[in-house]
């Protein structure tokens, strides 16, 4: 089942044409990595998919609905099926972890049990800590827990593992892949870690100068002779 279909997507900031005609599709259950150097338009692309930014040209269909044609109420309805871990990860700093979970449970009218989420994400020692006092890794884990509260059909992660130590990174990916297998949800993420792309992503989209230069399966890219996704990236993207 098709979750996202993007065609000829263009976005301009003043004189700066950030996206120059992106074509993209994501099906249910896929994990797709969006890669490219800093300033390539990755975050802009994700924020358009998150319904946070308007676009200038092209079409964006989320769950078979063209974003531009939706009313505010319809948009709020679409957002029930989307969740995200943003970069940087920030929530109300004077709320405790368990309070944040309860607040977002109310936002999403989620039937998920808070205690189950606390248990699943091993948040018991942190449940009464203020979000602001958590380490970067635990902030990401809490952010992911909040994202999973709504059992989203599409999960968008903007550099979710940046700054995390290997254990936390591994923990985060375990949750993401478990979610993907358990619910069949689609995951779209950006990262600069090519090993993660190779290990976890079904497809890769390389953004270069606002154009999706390559959009193929990970196996497809490796079958063209590259030893790794890292080698592929270095050969395709100049400094």
């Amino acid at each position: 089942m098709e979750i996202v279909r993007v065609s000829n997507l263009q976005k301009v900031y003043g004189e700066n044409k950030v996206l120059r005609g992106i074509d993209f599709t994501a099906n249910a259950g896929e994990v797709i990595g969006v890669i490219g150097k800093n300033g390539a338009g990755k975050s802009t692309f994700l924020e358009i998919l998150m319904t946070l930014k308007p676009y200038d040209e092209g079409n964006v269909l989320l769950f078979d609905k063209e974003l531009r044609t939706l009313s505010t109420n319809q948009l709020e309805h679409v957002r029930k099926d989307i969740s995200a871990v943003l970069q940087p990860t920030q929530f109300y700093k004077t709320l405790k972890v368990v309070e944040l979970l309860k607040l977002f449970k109310a936002y999403y009218k989620s039937p998920v049990d808070i205690e189950q989420i606390v248990s699943d994400f091993k948040l018991q020692p942190h449940r009464k800590k203020y979000f602001d006092k958590l380490s970067g890794g635990w902030k990401q884990i809490v952010s992911l827990a909040i994202a999973f509260l709504s059992e989203p059909k599409m999960l968008i992660l903007d550099e979710p593992t940046t700054g995390l130590d290997p254990h936390m990174r591994n923990m985060l990916w375990t949750y993401i892949t478990d979610y993907n297998k358990r619910t069949g949800g689609t995951v779209i993420l950006t990262t600069h870690n090519m090993d993660e792309v190779e290990m976890y992503c079904d497809k890769v989209m390389l953004l270069n100068d606002g154009v999706n230069e390559i959009f193929d399966s990970t196996e497809g890219i490796l079958s063209t002779g590259f030893k790794s996704i890292n080698e592929f990236y270095l050969s395709k993207v100049s400094i």
Partner: protein
């Protein structure tokens, strides 16, 4: 959902020492301290210290709450990307707005009754039901006007530091030119001129007269009301056209298009 949002909004307010100090602690303490110094003096309209400064300090608390907990908070959430994460969730925007307004009304009303209670205990302030009801109604109108003015001013800020410096400076300016410390007539000429441009000064003058049942429909009253109305109207215009002024804020779909506008004209986050 509104009850949950309001509960956490109130909880967050009580956990912000900065807000608590400037809104709930400093004004009542100053009210008591000033009373010790000038409690026996008689003020304009043959009013006692309590009759003059009880409404003034209620207004000062309202100003503090609305500007810090409502306005400054907006900037903090916007600049730290909290707002972006909230927008992404399916919570109706009217729920967030309503919760914010209710939070301000609840906290400022608490301030109202706190200062009034201190006035009754410390300065034998009398309770006159008709004046009390009229004063509370006026207080609510001023509350609404301050919410609009605060929203408009803080919508222009894109940096937390800028908003913080502004908040601290404006608090001092309002304290001294709003008639909250000493009668403006006793201040230097330049302070009196600044006071004329300070909407809080006009609100203060009106509130004192309503509080004491001395409101007269003269030119001074009309000038004060007119000035407050004009500032509130300008603030509404700023909010209305704020999207084009706030270059670094982000926009979301699709209100412009629904009204027949073009989303291409919207500004961007600068991301």
């Amino acid at each position: 959902m509104l009850a949950t949002q309001l509960k956490y909004d109130l909880l967050m307010f009580t956990r912000e020492i900065f807000y608590m100090v400037f809104t709930i602690i400093v004004p009542p303490v100053t009210y008591l301290f000033m009373g010790q110094l000038f409690g026996d003096a008689t003020y304009a309209g043959n009013l006692s210290y309590a009759e003059t400064y009880t409404p003034s300090f209620i207004l000062l608390i309202t100003f503090g709450v609305v500007f810090f907990a409502f306005g400054f908070d907006q900037v903090m959430n916007r600049t730290t990307s909290v707002e972006k994460r909230i927008i992404l969730s399916p919570v109706p925007k009217r729920t967030l707005l309503l919760s914010n307004i209710l939070r301000s009304i609840i906290i400022t009303s608490l301030g109202y009754f706190l200062v009034f209670f201190i006035g009754m205990i410390a300065y034998d302030l009398s309770f006159e039901p008709t004046n009390f009801i009229l004063a509370f109604g006026t207080f609510m109108i001023f509350n609404a006007a301050l919410l609009i003015i605060s929203s408009a001013i803080y919508s222009l800020f894109t940096s937390l530091n800028g908003a913080l410096v502004f908040s601290i400076v404006i608090f001092q300016v309002v304290m001294f030119t709003g008639g909250f410390t000493m009668p403006i007539a006793m201040m230097p000429k330049f302070v009196q001129i600044i006071a004329d441009f300070n909407p809080l000064y006009h609100m203060n003058q009106l509130f004192i007269t309503v509080w004491n049942g001395q409101l007269e429909w003269n030119s001074a009253t009309f000038i004060s009301i007119g000035y407050i109305v004009i500032i509130t109207a300008i603030s509404l215009l700023v909010l209305r056209f704020g999207n084009s002024l706030r270059k670094s804020s982000f926009k979301w779909y699709p209100t412009n298009r629904n009204r027949g506008g073009d989303v291409r004209n919207e500004s961007f986050t600068g991301h």
